[in-house]
Each structure stands twice: as structure tokens, then as C-alpha cells.
Amino acid sequence: MSALVKVSRREFLLLSGGATAGLVLGFHLPARGDERAPFAPNAWLAIDEGGAVTVWVIRSEMGQGVLTSMPMLVAEQLDADWHSVKVAQAVTDPKYGRMSTGGSQSVRRSWEPLQRAGAAAREMLVAAAAKRWEVDPKACLAREGAVMERGGGRSLPYGKLVADAAKLPVPESPALKGPGEFALLGRPIPRLDTAEKVTGRAIFGTDVRLPGMLFATVARCPVRGGKVKTYQAAAALKVRGVRKVVEVPTGVAVVADSSWAALRGREALRATFDPGPNGKLDSVEVSARLADPAAKLTAVRSEGDFEAALARSKTRHEAVYQFPYLAHVTMEPMNCTARVDGAGAELWSPSQSPTWAQGEVAKALGLPEDRVRVHTTLLGCGFGRRAMPDVPVEAAHVARAAGAPVQVLWTREDDIVHDYYRPASRNVLSAGLDASGKLLAFRHTVRAPSVAAQVFEKPEGRPDVVGGAFDLPYRAEAVLVDCYAPAIGVTVGWWRSVYASQNACAQECFVDELAAKAGQDPFAFRRALLEGAPRLKEVLELAAAKSGWGGPLPPGRGRGIACFPSFGSFVAEVAEVSVVDSAIRVHRVVSAIDCGRIVNPDTIEAQIEGAIAFGLGAALREAITIRNGSAVQTNFDDYEPLRFPEMPAVEVHRVTSAEAPGGIGEPGVPPVAPAVLNAVAAATGVRVRTLPAGAVKVPAAGQRS
């Protein structure tokens, strides 16, 4: 084993004790995994002679429960005793392929391979027992960590079988238990990481401590494309605890004995910046660029003849919705710890994309990829921000320049100003209805900068900016979805639910406007158009029923509904709001979801609760405005997510489904804002089309149209 690994083991061994299910937080296992384990039929699991099962997880835990759901998939088919299952975070290694967590993909991608991995191991253990007893494997069955003879005969725990099982061939297509036989999947199994998280023992990126480690902050130009012009290295070096001032591609790093010294040292630098070509950009110009009347639109989905259908319509309606840039503000600001020496580079990163980070660090340092290892710590939120490899690359540069292991710490101000924002957008919708209120023509034009165009050299496939809008589920004679994606000098990225966050809001608010034009109830109007989308229709009906749609409400309150399919799941939400002194108060959100087959119902509930809080902050208040090329907002006083007293009562109802698993981290977000804004319109008659809603100016009674 390499020296690197030895240090890692000593520093990071964090085992939850005894023979209980638990969390083995990373870093303690040999790089190549399992050669020392008595039985490790594949990269995902190993069983020792004591019967302890270790499951390696390549997904990053950012609150969505993968450190529990992934081992549940393995343990289910392994017929493991759940209390003997431990979970470990995998370190980058070719045997794991690409390690990344995003797009609400973890369960969807792992559903089958992890069950197969468990089933293969179970078959080998059964075969080993059958061989020892000289009986047919069919006469044996596995249950709770043991193989027994059917009809109650001999029994051997897995630990006594691992040596024999390891000598057997790994079955290529093991038989999988069916859903009717599931003992773990579908049950609210308690999360394995909770004990660490209520005692302060959980290790997030910023909690990594290495021998001889220093702390660094970096002065960076706040404008995309700008650079540091001048700085006072000597002044920074006078700050007690500051060791070095080094230049790195992103700016100037101050390396110190402590976080505080690094922060003080950076202040002392008094860095000045050359903002470059984007130095005069502001939000007014961004809006103007998005609204460019000369923009060339690209049609992405075109069914029927939109113009002809519109011309035939009895009622026509058009509306423009506008959305701001948004920050992620993960609770744990960006950070990464790196060590670069003759052996290569080793990073400890709260990353959603360890393999991408590994590749980018290798390129940045001119190292072969196999000399870069990335350990994934726990993530203090992710939301897509931590998919980007910028912070690991910066940390690697700082560590190399400093000649010591370094933790690069971003302040909250760094985190907001240097974020990869949810793109601003301008959504133009137009539609036509016939005399009976039937939808004839529907057009959704998305004008927004493209994340893919900024991140990738050659973006592939459908333009990303129409995400969500493309999947319009309502039946119309003619549908046109088109887009315009100008390059704008503001850094953009993936934000929980990505373009569905704007496009669903515009679509679902506009559909409510159409229902009003047609003189129909917004629930009934949607329902009639969803014949071709039965799963969405079912959650719409469920949310309506559970919310008491159409029933009485206290005076001053309004209900709003929205539904949206995204990331393989179907969600409808009904919000109940009132507006008092221009302030929106959300009292209750009733949600219904169909996410196919499930792993852990409690996690699903938690993710929907969280998605509602996340979506509400954006609907009500969050916005990044640009002035002189950079964000005006810098901390939680001017970029304020939803706070505790603002959290509505939340109900989560789930449709039982035998469909393939859908995503769960993101699909709860898109319907929140439109449900709330539709409820505001119902309560006050005011239609909010520019987000965030902020203060709602309700006309005095009698002045309402």
C-alpha cells in the first residue's frame, strides 16, 4: 500500500461501532479496494469472516440519502442482515467508472447494477453452502446474512462461507428477487449517516485535517474573464500566521496556519482587479440581450402548424415571464483540501463529480490521471454547484505552489460572487383556444444563456435551455418550442432541476392564465388536456383531492395548482397562500408524486419537503442581480433562502407504481413556484410574471378588474 493511503487511513478512520449498521466515512480502504477482503465478488461489496458487509458507494451524499439507498439495493438482493452492513465512500478508481451525482440519477442508474451485485454474491454464498453440504443449491436459501437448508435444516452464516464462495465463479446473470419478496426496498429504513450528523462527527470537506496542513484563501477578480491587477504581498505576509502568498490561475492565494490568518491576510493584500470585457455588464443589459428583437430562434419541437392553429383560434393569449440568476448557497461554502507531492495529487473534496475533478486536476498539473486520487467527503448541500471541478483544480494549484497540503476555504462572499448561477431567462408563451376553450396552439420560447455551451467545448444533443419546456404534456393541435441562447458574460451552471426551474414556472403559470381565459377551473382545464399523460394526470388528481381542491378556504386565501414531469418522475403540487401587506405567506403545500419503484419512502418525503423549501425561496425572494459585471448580493443578508417561520405545512402523497424508478432530488422543485404564483393570482387577482415575486402590489378592493 502506498504511503498516501497509510496516512489516509490513520487520519480518517471513522467507524461506527460494533455489529450495527453504520457509516464508514471514506478513506480507510486500500485504493484498489478489495484484494485483502476474503470475499469481494465485484467492486461494490465485500464480506469478511465475521459476516460484516461493506458496500462501496460512488455517489456523493449531499442530503439525498445515497449512503443509505445504495447499500439497501445491494443488501436487498444479498439477503444481508441489514445490521451487519456498513457503507463506505469509494475513492476514484477506473473500476468504478465515472463517479458523478446529478440529474437525480443515483437510484435510476444504480437500481439494476447494485441489485445484480448483491444477487451475484448471494448466489455464490448459496453455492458454497450447497457444496459443503453436498446438496443441490436449490435446496438452500439465503436469509438475513445466512444460508440455510429449506425445510429447516443446517444453517451457516455468511462469514463462515466467504472463504469457499471466493473460489467460485461470479455468476453473470444472477436471479433477482422480485418486488413481492423485498424486505428492505420500499421501507423507511433509518439513514446510516444520521448518528454522525447529530454528534458533530460527520466529516464534510471543510472538516478534513491532514498532518502539516495549511489554510488558504484566494483573491479572485469578481468579474468573469477578469484578473487580479495589483496586490500587496508584503502586507499580507506581515499578518501573523500567514506563510506564503502565491499566484494561481484563479488569482492570488494567501496560505496561512489557520483559516482566520488566511482571511486576514487576504484583506491585507488589498488586491485590485482588471475586470476585462464584462466589467460594465449589468442586469438591465442582460434583460435587453435576452429580449433581443433580432434574435434568431431555433425550433426544437414543432408539431402541427402553430401559426395556422393560432390563426384559427377564437381566443389568443401571450405572456412574458422573466427569471433572475440564482445562487446555490450550499450551507457549506466551497472548499477543497489538496496535497501535491512527488507521488502525485490527492484531494479531499465535497464533490458531486470526483472523476471529472480528477481529470481536470490531472490536466492542470500535467499528471497522468492515475496519479490523482479524489476522496469524496460529505457534502454540505450540492444542488449542482459541486458538480463543477473549479474548486478542486484551484486547490491543487494552491497546494502545489505552497509546497504543503492546503485546505482552500471560500467565504460565503466568495461562494456567492463566484457561483455558477442558475441562468436568467425570458420565457415568451403564446397560445390559442377554440370557442369551447380547447387548446389549439401552444408555443413556448425560452430565451436564456446555455450552461452546456459555456461548460463544454462541443455541447451535444437538444439545446439545454428548453429543458422541461420541451416535454409539454398538454395536448394541443400545434406545439412549438423554440429557443435563443445568447452567450452572456455571467457564469452559469446547473441548479437543482436546472431549466425546469424557470420553464415549468412559466408554463404552469401560463396554463393557469389560459384556464382563466377559457373560463375554466385550472385543475379541470389541465386534467382535460392530460389524456396522453396518464401518470401526470394521476398525480394532478391526487394532489387536488388531498388538498380539498374546490372546497372552502379561510377568507383571503387562494389555492394554486401546478404539475410537471421531470427527471423521470411526475409531481403535482397545490399551494395555499394569502397576501398580507404585500407579503406572500404560504400556508400549506400538498404534493403528489409518482416516482416509480422506490427505495426509501422516508427519503422521498424528505426530498419533496426540501424541494418545496428550496423552490419557495426562489419564488419569493432569491435573485442575483449583476452590476459592473459581478453579483450585487454577497451574503445571506441580501441573498436570503427560506427561513424557518416561512416553511409551510407540507404533505407528500405518493402513487404506488411498478414503473422504473424516477429521480427524486429535483422533481419536487419545478411545480412549487407556479403553484404559489397561481395561488397568489387566485387570492388577489394579481398575476406575477417577474420573479422573484417579492412584494405583491394588490390593488385596493373595488379597483380590481
Binding site: 458533530g200 482566520w260 454540505g380 419537503e609
Partner: protein
């Protein structure tokens, strides 16, 4: 470097830091108590909350000098094994998602319940107004506070 004697989790600790160093960084960098988190540095999020003589304070805004002479309690000192009723309620209610803010949330609950064994929803709102959770665990926190309150009242009965 000046040295300050602090009482942290019932133990006297010597920290050699500048006197204006926020307690947060002393705990995390000098004393190795990383359960207390940095979130904003300006007292807006509550992730750095510790108890000072039993009351919640934002350790990012409290200097080392001002912490001297007071009892500091961090998440690591709440119980040896996670057995405090508030921690048990957090486990039973499956409160944490990412978990980053939870040390501050838990200590705030401990302080609230020490002062008010039967808090109303409105009083819980007040106590947690300054504590952000971006994962949105607020409703579970509220339920766990009520659960812990009930457990603590049961334990208090003779």
C-alpha cells in the same frame, strides 16, 4: 502569540491566537472541534451556533477575548454518545439531510428547551428564525423539538 484560557465542553483549553480571532476558528482550527460549522461569518445563518453559559451565540461573531470566563458548549460536548434527548429526537425524526447546519440547530433546541420546556410553534419559530437550513428540514426540526420536549418532561418527572 497571546494565550487564552477557555472553558470548552467542561475542559480548560489554552488557545494561542490573536485576541480578535472569532471563537469559531479557535474551535475548528486550534482545538480540532470541527462539529461547529462556518456558514457566513456575519451571524446570518446560525451554522456556527454554540452555547455560551447555556445561551446560543454565533461563534463567528464572538471574539476569543470575549469568550474568556464563560462556559462554551459545542456539539461535541453535548453528550458522549449522541444520547441527549434532543439528539435522540433528531435521530427518531430523521431530521438531517446534508447535516451541515444541524449542530447549530441542535444546540439551539437544547437552549430553547432548557428555558422553555413546553415551547409553542410560535416560540419555536422565534428560536430558529436565525438558523438557515438550505435542505429545508424545518418541519422535521419543529417536530423533533416537540418530541424532545416531551421526552425531557417525562424524564423530569420523579
Amino acid at each position: 502569540m497571546p494565550a487564552f484560557a477557555l472553558e470548552v465542553n467542561g475542559v480548560k483549553r489554552i488557545a494561542e491566537v490573536d485576541e480578535d480571532t472569532p471563537l469559531l476558528w479557535v474551535l475548528r482550527d486550534a482545538l480540532g472541534l470541527t462539529g461547529t460549522k462556518y456558514g457566513c461569518g456575519v451571524g446570518q445563518c446560525g451554522a456556527c451556533t454554540v452555547l455560551l453559559d447555556g445561551s446560543p451565540v454565533r461563534s463567528c461573531r464572538l471574539t476569543t477575548r470575549d469568550a474568556v470566563g464563560h462556559r462554551v458548549l459545542t456539539i461535541e460536548g453535548l453528550s458522549p454518545d449522541g444520547g441527549h434527548p434532543v439528539q435522540r429526537a433528531w435521530v427518531a425524526g430523521e431530521v438531517p439531510q446534508c447535516g451541515y447546519c444541524q449542530s447549530g440547530q441542535i444546540l439551539s433546541a437544547v437552549a430553547l428547551l432548557a428555558k422553555n420546556p413546553r415551547p409553542t410553534d410560535a416560540q419555536i419559530d422565534d428560536a430558529f428564525l436565525g438558523l438557515l437550513c438550505r435542505c429545508g428540514t424545518y418541519n422535521r426540526i419543529r417536530a423533533a423539538v416537540h418530541r424532545a420536549a416531551e421526552e425531557m418532561r417525562k424524564e423530569a418527572r420523579p
